[in-house]
Amino acid sequence: MADRFFTKTHEWVRLEDDSAFIGITDYAQKELGDIVFVELPSVGEKLTQFSRFGTIESTKAASELYSPLSGEVTEVNNDLVNHPEWVNQDPYGKGWMVKIKVDNRDEIANLLDEATYKNLIEKEA
């Protein structure tokens, strides 16, 4: 998928017009194990690239979530509060976390494409 990019900290971002959906990768959910809690920002909050936007907790550990791009939060997947398991079941679909209005598309240059990300996780594993 050409419109999907990744961070070194295992978040994905999918661009749609001037908006973007953000979540964590399949590799990340596998590494974390069963997700039990997701803490997300509120609509209207401003995120800057690579800054913390939330917390994700599994039975093993709590980890920070980092935003792949800068922008204002326009939608939050509040269903994850009651269904954290969706992050495990469908990390790129139902498990999306926030939708933002993208500030600056040039920031995409700081992200990884699918092939580079795949390389990274192969090295990590």
Binding site: D34, V36, E57, T59, K60, A61, A62, S63, P84, E85
Partner: protein, 484 residues
Amino acid sequence: MKEKIIFQKSQKGRFTDYVTNPQISIFPPSHFIPQKLLREDLNLPSLGEGEVVRHYTNLSRLNYCVDTNFYPLGSCTMKYNPKVNEDLANLEEFLHIHPYQKEEDIQGTLELLYNLEKLLCEITGMERFSFQPSAGAHGELTGMLIVKAFHSLKREKRFKVIIPDSSHGTNPATASMCGYQVVVVESTKEGLVDIDKLRKLMDSSTAGIMLTCPNTLGIFEEKILDIREIVHRQGGLLYYDGANFNALLGITKPSLMGFDIVHLNLHKTFSTPHGSGGPGAGAVGVRKDLVPFLPVPLVDKKNDYYYLNYDLKHSIGKVRSFYGNFPVLVKTYAYLLRLGKEGLVRVAHNSVLNANYIREKLRDNYQLASSKRCMHEVVFSCKDKKEEYGVTALDLAKRLLDYGIHPPTMYFPLVVKEALMIEPTETESKETLDYFIEVMKRIDQEAKTKPSVLKDAPHTTFTKRVDEVSAARNPVLKWEEYGE
């Protein structure tokens, strides 16, 4: 649940007490308590004394503790706590004093605090200590508030704190609570702070670094003097997380490594029963020019008279009532006096020796997380076992319960996949260590030949494998909701 809780055992109006009503007149509660505060519908269980005693005695027999079994919980220093400490902390003279008593009536107590502080200063190289913080994380908060006050007084705008990716989770939490932005410095393959990366991250907007040494991989930060140089040159401070100080007792001092602020987990390193929330003591020590920032009061001495000194110019204030968890301080003092300088060195030597014994004996069966020789704890990775046999660090830890051993710390530090962190402590005998090693080897065999035994473990405990995922996703917090 097989064991009912006491409310479920309660029978309204149960009467097994055959004492005759003494027929004396007493004041009713309304004599002491305003009418609007009186309640009659107290939800107290109704049982006979014998039933209550049986209930709690039986529950206590389900306890697993360092007094019953081996407890190699990494980074927790579950050493044996000498019973004489308890006797001394329970001396009438300590037990019945009140923090509002006059100074002249509690000279002995103040003397103990004074002398203990001197000993901790000698051990760490710090100038003064505050005993107020109640636990390690509380000590961190106190220490970092001092860092903040120090920089603000100099009108320096510093908003970042550097923390290694192998740190205890409380470090970033503390920095964050103090309003700092957390900057993570990555570790090298050996698990040490990456000096080149640190050099790039450290700047004049960084307040300092929080460091545990030995770190959470049980490895001594060999480049500690370089770290000191990098941080100090930019005007930052070095904070020492004392979680792993057991390994260095009497061998070296945090001051010699360049640390400016230190917290010690007195309850861990200096032997007090701990876990599950205390009571603890996270004493905080500082170098000379930071003393005016410590919480008040400190115990000082003038003409052989001990007094409480509230006169600290830049004190961050109180972080807890009075002087901290005093009985823990008595136990610490007793421990230090009994061991003396030589004893402390032996503690450090043996804690390191025991961990390395386990490391060498198990390195062919379990993957080491670092090629460096360890200090007081050793970290293995079960990543290869997960890939080859489908058994995880969790399965292995659960299986240890069947052999009467408390599981090591799992999935920590976060930089190691499927981590098992083992800290045997100095108080375990070679026989106990050999038993543990034999069990670990046996479990390694089981992982290969019958992994289902690990998957379903534990088999022999009162409670079998618990559903941690459901527990975390749908916590049942009231017993009424649980049902029979």
